[in-house]
């Protein structure tokens, strides 16, 4: 349980200060029925999840999304088709509602074709950061309305999957730049894409090198060490952190292996099964994202990243400090071209550092 506040109740009511006592229970009351009530309420409202996939073209992002959610979310680009290379980085977003066992999930996937594909990739992360901040801005605007909706639609990006090309060496400067900037604003999960081109030993070596790179540049990817709540979380998350980045293979075709129908990639030298832990780590990624940590991703986005953005915005607007004042937001910085965007980046990082020091998560 979180530590209880010993603050006295407001003076105007002349009530005595609340003391917290543990009481001996003499019989069954039925408090745990509130869990069922919560479940019913959650299932009625449905869930929302927004995910973003970032990586160079040809790394299998669309296929990966389709494999993750076992449906044709995206028409994956077939090799050989002349796809006109986008001249600028464009963000492309689709929303679907998927249902499983009565649980409705509104899934939004944002793709970034054109990332890292130009000759000069300077500031190619700016549009992505701009999009993420725009979603935060939208939520913030809704939240500070006087008459606001019961349930604010949540379009904030909960998770960003970054596809690292399987060079086998180490992280490239583009990867490092991007990861550094983005891990302050959103939960980033790096994965080694197209891992079927690496042998198992090469994979392990690559993974260790990437982990070292991340540590050297103090890039905190999800699950972040500083947000572990208690010992159990730490143990669980440490196990995950050992395996990050996952080496994944995506496939949306089914083949027959030993009489079973499995998703896999068929090559001349064998069939790579996507769901087989010995072949690739796709199940780990899927379990992390969907089966165990989805709610945690949303919570960290809401409680940490969104709050940080809010603090920055409110300070920018010279808001009245705490007290019965209201907020007037300066007009949101427009999604400006390259020049002006550089400044919020490092500024955010400094603020992150100062937040981190005095807040305990």
């Amino acid at each position: 349980m979180d530590p209880l506040r010993q603050s006295p109740s407001p003076s105007s009511s002349r009530a005595s200060s609340p003391r917290t006592l543990s009481c001996e229970r003499l019989g069954y009351v039925g408090i745990e029925a509130v869990l069922d009530q919560l479940k019913i309420k959650a299932m009625k409202m449905g869930f929302e999840f927004n995910i973003m996939v970032v990586g160079q073209s040809g790394l299998g992002k669309s296929t990966m999304v389709n494999t993750l959610f076992k449906s044709k979310i995206w028409k994956s680009t077939m090799p050989g088709l002349r796809v006109p290379m986008p001249q600028t980085l464009q963000l492309h977003s689709v929303t679907h509602v998927i249902e499983e066992n009565g649980v409705k999930l509104k899934l939004t996937v944002t793709d970034t074709p054109g990332f890292g594909d130009q000759i000069n990739n300077d500031k190619c992360w700016d549009p992505i950061l701009g999009y993420i901040n725009e979603q935060y801005e939208r939520y913030l605007q809704e939240e500070i309305l006087i008459t606001r909706q019961r349930h604010i639609p949540d379009t904030r990006v909960h998770c960003c999957i970054y596809f690292v090309p399987p060079t086998g060496h180490c992280l490239r400067p583009l990867d490092l730049e991007f990861l550094q900037r983005l891990c302050r604003a959103v939960n980033v999960v790096p994965v080694i894409a197209r891992a079927d081109s690496l042998t198992i030993e090469e994979r392990e070596a690559f993974r260790h090198r990437i982990q070292d790179d991340l540590k050297t540049h103090s890039i905190e990817v999800y699950p972040q060490k500083s947000f572990d709540e208690d010992v159990n979380d730490k143990i669980l998350n440490n196990k995950i952190r050992e395996r990050i980045p996952f080496a994944v293979v995506g496939a949306d075709r089914e083949h027959m292996v030993n009489g079973r129908c499995v998703l896999g990639r068929k090559t001349k030298w064998g069939i790579i099964e996507v769901e087989n832990m010995a072949h690739c780590e796709f199940p780990l990624l899927r379990d992390l994202l969907i089966r165990s940590h989805l709610q945690d991703l949303k919570d960290i986005t809401h409680n940490v990243h969104y709050e940080n953005y809010r603090i920055i915005r409110l300070k920018e607007s010279h808001a009245l400090p705490q007290g019965p004042g209201w907020v007037n937001l300066a007009p949101a910085p427009p999604p400006a071209p390259t020049g002006t965007r550089a400044s919020p980046g490092p500024a955010k990082m400094c603020r992150w550092a100062e937040d981190n020091s005095d807040e305990d998560f």
Partner: protein, 437 residues
């Protein structure tokens, strides 16, 4: 369907296509993905954070509020019974940590002390309304802070208000009506008939009907159990018809049959608390805790708190306008208010300055007056002094004249004497001299 819109000139460094939310379609799944564990993930998170629930008990002294709380939560909460001699209504609040299997509940019970005991009860509802507003205000302050920690904030807003009605058997008291009318837009009110073992069954039905009709006639909105979700619609619907619940509280356990049960023993029989035929305690417990606790909390947050927030912010003069001019109008309003405030300050300053100047003038005039008076007095005194001096001088002069005259007479007399004595009687002269001397 995905829609590609060319929404940007090549000069823009990026263009965003397809806002999420438009063109949502349902996609069939080809296998088990696994997000049906989402509700469980959510529940696990909530369990680790813990729940909090705040109940406000409003009712006259001696109606059994503390006993009912003890009975509801099966424990002995501390606190002594209040006297009837309170000068005003006060609220007493206690927070407890309850644990049942793996669920921790932080329960806050607030009860009124001295409600209905005064002779003049016009202001009895005010401390209660102020308390509820203070809790909303505290939450609003936390929400408006720049650096806030809402997810670990101890929510002290009142989720449910149990209003205890005295078992007169006739109708609601006017104090009850007034108080409930003031509270119904701020909190979820659940009216209950306390100490209902004092009413017989037939009287009870009539009493309930009378109470419900009075509440409806006066437009008091009590909390209705939600009937929109199928799983609880039926039970909530029937319970809505049984409002207000007639309850009895007891913490004593008596052996009835071969079980220990909570009951009250009278010479003419025993009233069992958990027997549905005897009282509605079980219904109250079901509704309050087992079925609708989450809904009570949600209503408090999304309806009552939002209303308070809206009123408070509008009071301060802020309005929403259409989305595209929102930032500017807020800014304008803020600027206008600020200027107004500064203007007022300046005006006040001017007033004060003028008043100061005026006072100084008055004081100066007074002082001048006093000075003038003083001068006059001084002149007067001086004149008096001079007159006296003159008089004294005159007197002195006359005295001197007398003395001179006397001396002259004396010398003249001596001369005559000396002339006379020379002729013959020098002895008599001597004798006269001696006499004279």
């Amino acid at each position: 369907m995905e829609a590609e819109a060319n929404s940007g000139s090549p000069e823009d460094s990026w263009a965003f296509i397809q806002r999420p939310g438009e063109g949502c379609r349902t996609v069939p799944l080809a296998g088990h993905v696994g997000f049906d564990s989402l509700p469980d993930q959510l529940v696990n998170k909530s369990v680790s954070q813990g729940f909090c629930f705040n109940i406000l008990c409003v009712g006259e002294t001696g109606l059994g509020k503390s006993t009912l709380m003890d009975t509801l939560f099966n424990t002995k909460f501390e606190g002594e019974p209040a006297t009837h001699t309170q000068p005003g209504v006060q609220l007493r609040s206690n927070t407890y940590d309850l644990q049942e299997s793996n669920v921790g509940l932080k329960l806050t019970i607030v009860s009124t002390v001295g409600f209905g005991d005064q002779i003049n009860k016009e202001d009895s509802y005010k401390p209660i309304v102020e308390f509820i507003d203070a809790q909303f205000e505290a939450y609003l302050q936390e929400e408006l802070k720049i650096r806030r920690v809402l997810h670990t904030y101890h929510d002290s807003r009142i989720h449910a208000c149990l209003y205890f009605i005295a078992p007169t058997g006739h109708s609601l008291k006017s104090l009850d009506l007034v108080t409930m009318k003031k509270l119904d837009s701020k909190v979820n009110i659940i009216p209950i008939i306390a100490k209902s073992d004092a009413i017989s069954k037939s009287e009870l039905t009539k009493f309930k009907i009378k109470i419900t009709s009075e509440l409806v006639n006066n437009g008091v909105q009590i909390y209705q159990f939600p009937t929109d979700d199928e799983s609880v619609a039926e039970i909530n619907g029937t319970m809505n018809a049984h409002l207000p619940f007639a309850v009895i509280g007891s913490t004593e356990e008596l052996k009835i049959g071969n079980k220990m049960m909570k009951a009250r023993q009278y010479p003419w029989g025993t009233v069992q608390v958990e027997n549905e035929a005897h009282c509605d305690f079980v219904k109250l417990r079901e509704m309050l805790i087992r079925v609708n606790m989450e809904d009570l909390r949600e209503q408090t947050h999304s309806r009552h708190y939002e209303l308070y927030r809206r009123c408070k912010l509008e009071e301060m003069g802020f309005k929403d306008t259409d989305p595209d001019s929102k930032p500017f109008s807020l800014q304008e309003t803020y600027e206008a208010k600020r200027n107004e405030f500064l203007g007022e300050l300046q005006k006040k300053e001017e007033e004060m300055r003028q008043m100061f100047v005026q006072r100084v003038k008055e004081k100066e005039a007074e002082l001048k007056e006093a000075e003038k008076e003083l001068h006059e007095k001084f002149d007067r005194l001086k004149k008096l002094h001079q007159d006296e001096k003159k008089k004294l001088e005159d007197k002195k002069k006359s005295l001197d004249d007398e003395v001179n005259a006397f001396k002259q007479r004396k010398t003249a007399a001596e001369l005559l004497q000396s002339q006379g004595s020379q002729a013959g009687g020098s002895q008599t002269l001597k004798r006269d001299k001696e006499k004279k001397n």
